[in-house]
């Protein structure tokens, strides 16, 4: 088991370098003037351009730039915007909000999705089953922004006090429930279907028959034997769904006016604030890789067959 962990950790390093380099290249090696629009209507003065170029190594090769950037990054220095603001500070203000939103989304997605999947998987063809199948199909077909708009319209029409249509600056947990639901809606639909299929397939397994032949109570047969085996693919999916969440976060934060990292990154790309974009994206990639590592480890805990891979 220890070897498996070590191997996975080592595998992450090249992937991390590859992804961050790819991002760096995409952002900084793009043709186009990085200083366009930075100084208002007029073109920036040459002295300004010279200083900036010197400071940010813009004349070095892309590899050198990347290397210098990453060495600074691992020491905690995210650099500064062209206006001199600390990127690190900007990010640290907004990152926790997005994290909270993501946690809410995953929690809703897992709870509702898995429950719906278990109920329909166990019961088989029934009204509930058809309802869940139909509604999940529907949710999968609605892009996040459409869901977001529709929900927001409902909230505005309903005008309920405890369910505000936009989120305040502090972004309390309770306010994030609706946006979290919107963010996780598509993934929730997938989780429900995946759980359902997993349960239906495993229900007919030979070991289930053995468990019944042993005279174990039904609650144990389902709760211990069936669930443990069925959980495995669902868990893997939850990990990968995080990648989709990040994209959806940009949309959701925009619609519900949440002061998180999604909105920040969106504007920064349009404003060509390269350091903010790079910094946020690198951070997100780290989070994503870490979460997937944890999921992989959990997978090995749940399924002993793969520990000796």
């Amino acid at each position: 088991m220890g070897r498996y962990v070590l191997r996975r950790l080592l595998q992450i390093v090249p992937v991390f370098i590859g992804t961050t380099f790819l991002i760096y290249v995409l952002i900084w090696a793009i043709p186009g003037d990085p200083f366009a629009g930075l100084c208002g209507e007029r073109r920036c003065p040459d002295s300004f351009i010279a200083t900036m170029t010197e400071k940010y190594h813009l004349n070095d090769s892309i590899f050198v730039q990347y290397f210098k950037y990453m060495t600074a990054l691992v020491q905690g220095d995210f650099g500064e915007t062209f206006n001199g603001q600390s990127v690190g500070e900007l990010i640290s203000l907004r990152f926790p909000v997005s994290v909270r939103l993501a946690i809410v989304a995953v929690a809703i997605e897992a709870l509702i999705g898995v429950t719906a999947g278990i109920l329909t998987g166990l019961r088989g063809r029934s009204f509930l089953d058809n309802l869940v199948l139909a509604s999940t199909l529907f949710l999968i077909s609605m892009p996040t922004f459409v869901t977001g708009f529709v929900v927001q319209q409902l909230l505005l029409k309903g005008d309920w006090e405890f369910l505000p249509p936009t989120v305040s600056d502090q972004a309390r947990w309770s306010e994030l429930i609706i946006p979290g639901f919107v963010l996780g809606a598509v993934a929730m639909a997938f989780v429900a279907r995946l759980t359902r299929t997993s349960i239906m397939e495993n229900k007919r397994s030979d070991y289930m028959r053995t468990a019944r032949a042993k005279g174990l109570p039904n609650s144990r047969i389902v709760g211990v034997h069936l669930l443990r085996n069925s959980a495995i693919p669902v868990l893997t999916f939850l990990g990968t769904s995080l990648g989709g969440l990040m994209g959806g976060a940009i949309v959701t934060e925009g619609i519900f006016d949440i002061k998180g990292v999604g909105g920040l990154i969106y504007r920064s790309i349009l404003d060509k604030e390269g350091f903010i974009v790079t910094g946020v994206v690198v951070l997100l990639v780290i989070v994503f890789l870490m979460v997937n590592l944890i999921i992989d480890l959990l997978y090995a805990v749940l399924d002993p067959r793969i520990r000796y891979d």
């Binding site: 992937v15 992804t19 199909l137 990040m246």
Partner: protein
Amino acid sequence: MTESTTTAMGAGAASAEDQIAALDQLETKPGKPRSLWSDAWLDLRHRPVFVVCVLLIAFLVVMALFPGLFTSVDPTHKDLAHSREAPSAQAWFGYDVQGRDIYARVIYGARWSILVGVLASLLSVLIGGTVGIMAGYRGGWLDGVASRTAEIFFGLPFVLGAIVVLTAFRSAGVNSAIAIVGAVVVSIAVLIWPVSMRIMRSAAIGARQHDYVKAARALGASTTRVLIKHLLPNCLAPVLVYATIALGEFIGLEATLSFLGIGLRDPAVSWGVMIADSRNYIRVAPYLLFFPAGFLVVTVLSFVMLGDAIRDALDPKLR
């Protein structure tokens, strides 16, 4: 599990001799063997969901190819006097902010929305499928490189990658409708090909264990021949299912990108563009959102349900 075995002799033959004769015949009769595909097709033909989806998609394709059949109004014609007018007899879906006929725009929007979906799906499956089948079949360093590359792309959240790439295209000064569409298609394909690569790869790894592959190689078949004639037909099923569902998702993705302002934009009109335009006026004129969103959801739904139905039909475990 349980012993409900039924033999090839179904209902019908009553007498003993007939049964045995029928059995002998079954073993020697020539004729088309029933493959997984023909079985699946027979099954699908009778499923109402499949039929409805195919009809719906056909309808949408006709709309995309021949918008003139559905409306004679010019979707780009602006008349500010009608700005944000509600649906009426002259304009079934009303007018948008710039006074353009929403109904006409929805009809014309089908073209780009569906086109992006189809092209992106084709391209990403083509790239991913090719890499995947070779990686799965050959294994070794090729597989290693392909898998690591895929992992790198997986580490990059799609929307972020798309935003970066498309912004680059935009600042490079891409402006004609075709170029814009092309940029969107390419960005989607380039960022998403690893998914189909993985599917094809695991299918290929499974298929290459089979004896018929080993037999073909022992007979001296070239790699290309083995790949195309033996492996490919057996790996197509999961990829086909994925491609169909992905098509629907890509149509939704294009809408999302357009909503963010980095996808299609004027002069190319798609449902995503229309939804993006409606953003600030939803409260007063919900039909600005409602009609394009409705068409979008129905289209995506058709493809997703189609893919679902195909998957159920092709899955031998559910027979």
